[in-house]
Amino acid sequence: MKYQLELSGISKSFGPVQANNGISFAIKPGSIHALLGENGAGKSTLVKIIYGSVGPDEGSMKWYGDSFSPNNPFEAREKGVAMVFQHFSLFESLTVAENIVLGLDDVDLDDSIVNKIEKYSIQYGLSINPHQVVGDLSVGQRQRVEIVRCLMQNPKLLIMDEPTSVLTPNEVTDLFVTLRKLAEDGCAILYISHKLEEVRQICKHATILREGKLIKNCNPQEHSKDEIAEMMIGKKIIKLTRKNIKHGEEIFSINNLNCTSEDMFGVNLHDINLSVRKGSIIGIAGVAGNGQDELMRMLIGEDRAPRSTLIFKGKDISKLNSHQRRQLSMFFVPEERLGHGAVPNMGLDENMLLSRPSSSRMTRNHIIDWSQVRRLAKDVIETFNVLTPSVSTEAQSLSGGNLQKFMVGRELIQSPELLIIAQPTWGVDPGSANKIHQALTDLADQGSSILIISQDLDEILSLCEQVHVINNGKLSPSVDMESNGLETISQLMLGASIQ
């Protein structure tokens, strides 16, 4: 039988770093094939080689039996390779339709393309409005645009890099229906994901990479989730435990927060109420674009909240900026790592300095004490296993998971009394995610409070004692997890009325 794509002995190095080392595997036509590995295991490089944006140093590929060596993405696309990028390749100032046209060869912008987009988006349950400007879309909606763009190329091999990380459970189910339909039509799918449960659900073949080397080609349905995770990271996964759940008095509350969004495509917040007690982990679940960004901006202090809506330790902090809030021991990890959480082209040490309250002794009489800054940055890097060449490496050159570990670590070593964190493990591999989750529970065990805003329901359910759901700018009361909690959450996420 002929394989759709066959790789043999692919190697690629970038300077001293061996990204891929003699990797071989084959994808059958119409199969959904998982590519698994931690951040930095070499998945991205391998995918780039298949997509033609990077050439291999050694090894060869075959496309349906014929030799295949694309020199650029155009040649790969001509053969029928399509790709949904992990770092979205969308143009913010252009509309959805324009973005889609840009990714398609030989297609012009006219009404027929708009109709076609609408047809596809309905057929595959990926609701998007072709006339909307991409800059106004949420992360989840943007990904739908990417997926539709790929599907319109009628691909033979669809490469999906972390496609479900921003989708709700229902959207994931819908996507899987789409993917299975595509696979039945004979399109092979190379599926890169950190979500092993999903991989076991839809993939019958998996290739596991670690540190650029092939570890195993196997059927993920024959292995447990933990076994696969252990193959990926090369050591045992530690089970999450909270040793010490002790809830104290209320430390933070949101009271009747209303806010009209300035952005015409933004979400208005309606009458949000929330109470956070000492030592508790509280989760806000919800589909992307339901007011999480607006709420997060208020909580961080990027946007000022109306007077006396945010109370921290009995003090009205609504009008304080984020620096003043940090001084009160309230710390944040925003969703966007680059741009919001860190300055992309500054070193880790410099980023360390930027988010610290002035009490942290990193400056003396306004002069930076670099040895102290580097020592603290090094602390974070060591404690949280951040893989980086040096403390002064630019934030943007770290992989998503590594940067996230650094950002969470940076806030955690302050021992915050309240930590507000959005999407703690978006695009982070299981090993690192586990580490971050453990660090969060440890923090709560020490009596700190944590507020998590996440679209990853598994994460919320495994960490939080109290769950709220945000939908269309309204926050539900806490969901009673004892009686049918999961069902209630799904209903609320879909917009069931909030009492």
Binding site: S53, V54, N72, P73, F74, R77, F85, F88, S89, L90, F91, E92, S93, L94, E98, N99, V101, L102, G103, V107, D108, L109, V133, G135, E262, D263
Partner: protein, 308 residues
């Protein structure tokens, strides 16, 4: 009164045309994500080249073509430096302006006391003789019509063609455009060349239509006004015409005010167009926070380095 009105309209068109040329070229350049501050330099080199060719050959078509080529040659230097050698756009553009001013002054020494035949307004028998409509619509010089046409064509190209869409996409996010497989450097190179050609036309308009003489530094900051016009127009072609007419109008107003003996020092009146530029830029920034942000190319002035 009618006479005066027609005279003012003609005056405004003559003052505006070089701005339209330079600005519409720069608009395309900036839409592709490149900031070329060498506009003034390319204009003045276009002005002297066109003037010299006209002086030696007395052939306006040849003179105009020569000015286009001159603008493009300077643009090629800029494109090579910024797109191939990856130099900083701002520094390179400033250098280009200084170079253009210097080299034109050097070449122009022998032309400072001569005069040439200007490019005349067209005369369409029948149409140009119509009362009011004739002088208002059918009696401009050919370059004026060309400038309006250029704006239409640029608008059509940017908004109606796939290549225009790709150009805008490159200006918005060159990394994504590269990842999809579009040729970032090639598009930008061509956009810069187009900008050079248009700047050359703007220059020759000054030396062969406005006043058929050569004066050192005769662009007098029009390249900078054109740069401001692109921002004023929030990177939209038709607004360039509106902006250019406003700026042109002020320069003419100033001349007529002096003619009527308005009791203000001439220096103050000469400042008006430049003052206007500053006021417009400031009010634009204050007024709009999101709308023009959306139109401004996100990668404007950023060096593109394909890391593969």
């Amino acid at each position: 009164m009618n006479e005066l009105f027609i005279q003012i309209v003609l005056g405004i068109s003559i003052a505006s045309t070089p701005l339209i040329f330079a600005a519409i070229g720069e608009l395309v350049v900036e839409r592709s994500g490149v900031l070329n501050l060498g506009l003034e330099g390319m204009m003045i080199v276009g002005a002297i080249t066109g003037f010299a060719v006209q002086f030696h050959y007395n052939n306006v078509v040849l003179a105009v073509l020569a000015s286009i080529v001159a603008g493009m040659m300077l643009a090629t230097v800029f494109a090579f430096l910024t797109q191939v050698l990856l130099t900083n756009h701002v520094a390179t553009g400033l250098a280009l302006t200084l170079f253009g001013l210097g080299v034109s002054a050097f070449w122009g020494r022998s032309y400072s006391k001569v005069t040439v035949d200007r490019i005349d307004a067209i005369n369409i028998p029948g149409l140009s003789d119509l009362p009011v409509v004739g002088p208002l619509v059918f009696s401009y010089d050919p370059l004026f019509y060309l400038s309006i046409m250029a704006v239409f064509l640029v608008w059509y190209f940017l908004n109606k063609t796939k290549k225009g869409l790709i150009l805008r996409a490159i200006g918005d996010n060159h990394d994504a455009a590269h990842a999809i497989g579009h040729k970032v450097v090639r598009y930008r190179f061509l956009a810069i060349l187009f900008g050079g050609a248009m700047a050359g036309l703007g220059g020759v308009y000054l030396s062969l239509v406005q006043v058929p003489i050569w004066v050192e530094g005769m662009t007098a900051g029009r390249g900078w006004i054109a740069l401001a016009l692109v921002v004023f127009a929030s990177w939209q072609p038709f607004k360039v015409i509106v902006g250019a007419l406003i700026f042109g109008g002020i320069s003419i107003l100033q001349l007529h005010a002096q003619g009527y003996g308005v009791n203000v020092d001439a220096q103050y009146l000469s400042m008006l167009p430049y003052l206007m530029t500053i006021i417009v830029l400031v009010t634009l920034r204050v007024r709009s926070k999101s709308k023009s942000d959306r139109v401004m190319p996100h990668c404007l002035g950023k060096v593109f380095h394909s890391t593969q």
